[in-house]
């Protein structure tokens, strides 16, 4: 079966203007070259948890992020930009250690060939100090930017430890969206799911419904997020939500086990369940193709 046939089949199945690829080991080998004001692609990395130490969970906790950076650098066509969707660092009560981890993380990702790198916080980065240290290192916790005809909006649902976006940010979001046409291409980048994926596993945003309601009038909205350490796809109305894998540990499927717990390292399949993804934005067609990559080339 050809790759093209796979893509068509997936589109038919999903019916959401998004094609999802489960393995990208042979991808990005050339051919696709984004043009100005047309299609482009970017890379999403998530939940790197720099500073985590748990040999049974990830004995290569000091090396996984570096391998992922090398894997992105090895892509034949470099992405237009790279985005990290939160939990850059492992949480700590110690203010100095928190900053040390952020500095180390920043040094590592500075090795990316791509120099346009977008960040957003996860609860591990920002919940204990309401984003103070994160802001020192990475700037605003929510913001928007435009790229080749797509409007990107980062939504902070972590600096409030109660996992809320909050009224002030909601007002900002409404004002930001007012500049958009109803059929503008919009991609929301956030950390937690905006819908109630598994609230008893802390996989939700308290006022996520208000965010979705705000986005609902816009016909082309896609949400990319992290937090749940696995690939996951969900629709709320016409809005597609796609969760990314982690670069530190994997988590079980929502509701699949009585208690959420990190999946132990499998020595027979190192880095299993970990990885990153690229997202091809076909702007004219309002279509996104998501391709999953392992940490290292398989």
């Amino acid at each position: 079966m050809t790759n093209l046939m796979n893509r068509r089949d997936l589109l038919k199945l999903t019916g959401m203007g998004v094609a999802v690829f489960v393995s990208g080991t042979a991808a990005r080998a050339g051919g696709f070259r984004p043009q100005k004001n047309e299609s482009f692609y970017f890379v999403q990395l998530s939940d790197t948890h720099w500073g985590f130490n748990g040999p049974n969970i990830n004995p290569d906790s000091q090396g996984t992020l570096k391998k992922a950076v090398a894997a992105v650098n090895a892509l034949d066509d470099q992405p237009d930009f790279v985005v990290f969707t939160g939990d850059l660092t492992q949480t700590t009560d110690d203010r100095k250690i928190r900053r040390d981890r952020m500095a180390e993380f920043r040094d590592i990702v500075s090795q990316l060939k791509v120099k346009t790198v977008r960040f957003m916080p996860g609860e591990h980065d920002a919940s204990l100090d309401r984003g103070e240290a994160y802001h020192e290192f990475f700037g605003d916790l929510h913001y928007s930017f435009d790229h080749n005809g797509v409007h990107f909006i980062t939504v902070d649902n972590v600096s409030d430890p109660m996992a809320a976006v909050g009224e002030k940010q909601l007002q900002w979001l409404q004002a930001d969206l007012k500049q958009m046409k109803r059929d503008s291409r919009i991609v929301v980048l956030t950390h937690r799911p905006l819908f109630d994926l598994a609230p008893d596993w802390d996989w939700a945003t308290r006022d996520g419904a208000a965010v979705i309601d705000t986005l609902m009038p816009y016909s082309d909205v896609t949400v990319l997020y992290g937090h749940i350490h696995q690939e996951h796809h969900h629709m709320t109305g016409h809005i597609a939500h796609h969760a990314a894998k982690s670069l530190m540990w994997a988590l079980p499927e929502p509701g699949s086990v009585p208690k959420k717990a990190q999946i132990p390292w499998d020595a027979s399949a190192p880095y299993k369940g970990l990885g990153f993804r690229d997202v091809e934005a076909e702007v004219a067609q309002a279509r996104y193709e998501i391709e999953e990559f392992p940490v290292t080339k398989g």
Binding site: V158, P161, P199
Partner: protein, 124 residues
């Protein structure tokens, strides 16, 4: 399901409550058959973490934090509370179904946050 939530600012009495040694796993029945349970939250556990109550008998949970801001969420009974040091948060409800139900912290509180949970058992 009736739910009455009210916070009582009793910073002075909070310590008193905990000093009385009334943290126990089985509810005591107070006046009007009400089951009263005091729960202490701290990083990263609830004491008691296992609670048993009777179905159909009103329950009052008295929640207080020993260190920092925590949460308390019991989705099966649509209960949620912010648990702060120096504040006794009271939640009243009537358990109308038997079984084992998980409650957990829904305010990110640190590295062990995701393990901060307990079990409510409702018996016939």
């Amino acid at each position: 399901m009736k739910k009455i939530t009210h916070a009582v600012l009793v910073a002075a009495s909070a310590g008193f409550l905990m000093q009385q040694g009334v943290v126990r796993s089985v509810a005591r029945e107070a006046r009007n058959n009400e089951q009263v349970i005091r729960i202490s939250a701290s990083t990263f556990e609830y004491k008691p973490g296992e609670i048993t109550v009777k179905k159909g008998v009103p329950v009052t949970l008295e929640l207080i934090s020993q260190d920092r801001h925590h949460g308390f969420k019991l989705p099966e009974f649509h209960l949620q509370a912010n648990v702060q040091p120096g504040v006794v948060e009271k939640i009243r409800f009537i358990p109308d179904k038997a079984g084992k139900f998980t409650f957990f912290c829904d305010v990110f509180c640190g590295d062990g946050h995701e393990d901060m949970s307990g079990t409510l058992t409702v018996i016939e």
